[in-house]
Amino acid sequence: MGKQNIKAEILSQKKLSADIFDMTLNVGDMAREAVPGQFVSVYVNDGSKLLPRPVSICGIDREQGTIRLVYRIAGRGTELLSTYEAGTRINVLGPLGNGFTMKKEKAILIGGGIGIPPMLELAKQLGCEKNIVLGYRDQDTFLKEEFEPYGDVYVSTEDGSVGTKGNVIDAVREQAVQGAVIYACGPTPMLKGVKAYAAEMGLEAQISLEERMACGIGACLACVCKSKEVDGHTHVHNKRVCKDGPVFDAKEVEL
C-alpha cells in the first residue's frame, strides 16, 4: 500500500506551551502503515505556500486510524497550522521515510527540542529496556510526563532550570545513562554530539536528520546529506533524508 496522499481531518489541536502545538489527525490507513521515526508532509491551506512542512509522527493509533503531530511554530506555515481548529481538513502525504530500526538491546532514547516528539511513539513501541534523555531549553519540558511510563527519564536544560544544566550528552555522562543502542532526534549540533559519544563508547546510534525538502518522496534531490557509502540513487555520496532517511546509522553520515 505504501504512501498515501489524503485530505485528513484535524480531530484536535491543543497548545502544549508557548510555541508548541499538539494535533491529532484522522488519517485512516496511513496510521496502520506508519512506524516510529517516519514523518508526514503537511500542506497548509494558503495559496502562497506550495511546499509541504515535514513533521515527524509523535503518536500512532492504528485502531482509530489517527496520528499525532507535535510541532513548534517556526515560521508562517506552522503558525497557520496552529490556527486550524478541529474539523479543518488539510492535505497530508505519508508515511514518509524509513523510521527507526527497532532492536532488542537496551536502548537510550535521546530527543532534543522539537526532536523529542518522534521519540515518544518509539518509546511506546520499543519492546526492550529503555533510558530516555530529553533536552530542553528551559523549564518548559513539554511531553516529559508522557515518556515516564516507558523508562527512566533524564532531563537536560540549557539554562539549568530542570535536570542537568547543558545538553543531552552532558546528562548522559552526568547520570551515567546506560544502553547498547542510541536512538536520537534533535538539532544537528546535538546529533554531532551523539555521533561522537557513540563512537567514543562503541555504541550503535540511529540518528534522525533534518533537511529542507520539496517532494518528500526521493524525487527532487533537495534533501541530501553526505554519506560515507555511495548512495543507491545517484551513486555519489548523497543520501536523501526524505527517502533513505530521515533515520541513519550515525556512522553512515557526515554532519
Binding site: R212, C215, T234, V236
Partner: protein, 300 residues
C-alpha cells in the same frame, strides 16, 4: 475525443509531461501516478558521468513558488540506461530524457550513449542556472545556442528538444537560433534566477546563494514567452512554468504549446499530472471540443 499530440514525429497520448527534475526518474511518483497514462515522462537531467550537485540547503520556498539549486545531481547516463530507462519502458511510459553537460563534448557523449536506447525524445538543457558550467552560457547567447544545437542534432538519433532559459532579453532570438540549427522542438521555460535571504540569520537561504525560481509565480512570464516563441518559429513547443491546474495548462496550449510539462506542482500534489489531464478532458467535454489540437494556439 482526441487528446493525442505529436512532437517531432513522436506521438504523445496526451499533451502532459513532467518538468525535468521534478519527477525524478518516474519511479518515485509511480506510487501515485500510472506512468503510462502521461503524455510522457521527462527525466531528471543526466550527464555523461555522475554529478554530486550543490551543497544543501538546495531549496527554499518563496511566495507562490520555490527556488532550487540542486545543481543537477545525477547518476550519469550509464545508470540511467541500466536502471531508469528499462523501468520506464516496463511501466509503459513514453520517455523524454533530459540531458545536461558542462562542455559540448559532455552533451555529445550522453546523446551518443543514448542513441540505441529506448528514449523517445531528448531534451537538451542549456538553461540550468544553478551550475556554473551547467549549460546556462549556451542558453543565454544565440550564437552559442546555435552551435551546440547543431552539434547535438548531428549526433542525436532521437529528435531533440532544446530547452530555453527565460533569463534572456529576447526569447525569440534564442528560439530562432535553435530552430535554424535544426532543433526538432523547443521547451520553455526553465527557471528564472532568483535569491532569498534569511533575515534572521542574515545569510542566503540557499547554499548556492542563487537558485532557479519555479512554480505558479512565474506562469505569466512563461505564457508570454511561449506565446512569443510560438508566433516566431514553426517547430513545436512544450510549454511549462507554474502549471498547477488544467486551467494553467490550457493557457499554455492556447498560447501555442503543443504539449505542457507539470513541474513544481508535483511537490504540492503528487497526483498533479493526472489531475491536469483529467481537467483538460473535462474542459473539452464542457466546450464540445473533439480534438485538443483545435485549442493549440487558438488565442492570437
Amino acid at each position: 475525443m482526441n487528446l493525442g499530440v505529436e512532437i517531432a514525429g513522436v506521438s504523445l497520448k496526451n499533451p502532459v509531461t513532467t518538468g525535468s527534475g521534478t519527477f525524478g526518474s518516474g519511479e518515485e511518483y509511480s506510487e501515485f501516478v500510472d506512468l503510462s497514462s502521461l503524455g510522457a515522462v521527462t527525466t531528471k537531467g543526466v550527464a555523461n558521468v555522475p554529478w554530486p550537485g550543490n551543497p544543501t540547503p538546495r531549496v527554499a520556498e518563496t511566495y507562490g513558488g520555490m527556488l532550487n539549486a540542486v545543481g543537477l545531481q545525477n547518476p550519469g547516463v550509464d545508470v540511467m540506461i541500466k536502471r531508469d530507462l528499462p523501468f520506464l519502458k516496463e511501466a509503459g511510459a513514453t520517455v523524454i530524457v533530459n540531458v545536461c553537460g558542462k562542455t559540448t563534448e559532455d552533451y555529445l557523449e550522453v546523446v551518443e550513449r543514448l542513441s540505441d536506447q529506448p528514449a523517445d525524445l531528448l531534451e537538451i538543457n542549456v538553461s540550468c542556472p544553478n551550475v556554473k558550467e551547467g549549460g546556462i552560457a549556451f542558453g543565454q547567447d544565440p550564437k552559442a545556442l546555435y552551435e551546440i544545437t547543431k552539434a547535438v542534432k548531428a549526433k542525436a538519433k532521437q529528435p531533440i528538444i532544446m530547452k530555453l532559459s527565460p533569463n534572456v532579453t529576447d526569447i525569440k532570438e534564442m528560439a530562432k537560433a535553435a530552430e535554424a540549427a535544426g532543433s526538432d522542438a523547443l521547451s520553455l521555460i526553465n527557471t528564472l534566477t532568483g535569491m532569498k535571504i534569511d533575515i534572521e540569520k542574515r545569510d542566503f537561504l540557499l547554499a548556492n546563494k542563487t537558485g532557479g525560481l519555479s512554480g505558479p509565480a512565474i506562469k505569466p512570464v512563461a505564457v508570454r514567452m511561449v506565446y512569443e516563441v510560438c508566433s516566431t518559429v514553426k517547430i513545436p513547443v512544450i510549454g511549462m512554468g507554474g502549471i498547477l491546474t488544467a486551467e494553467d495548462a490550457l493557457e499554455f496550449i492556447m498560447a501555442g504549446a503543443a504539449a505542457v510539462a507539470v513541474g513544481t506542482a508535483n511537490f504540492t500534489d503528487p497526483c498533479a499530472t493526472v489531475k491536469v489531464i483529467e481537467g483538460i478532458k473535462s474542459y473539452m467535454e464542457r466546450h464540445n471540443i473533439e480534438d485538443i489540437r483545435e485549442l493549440i494556439g487558438c488565442v492570437k
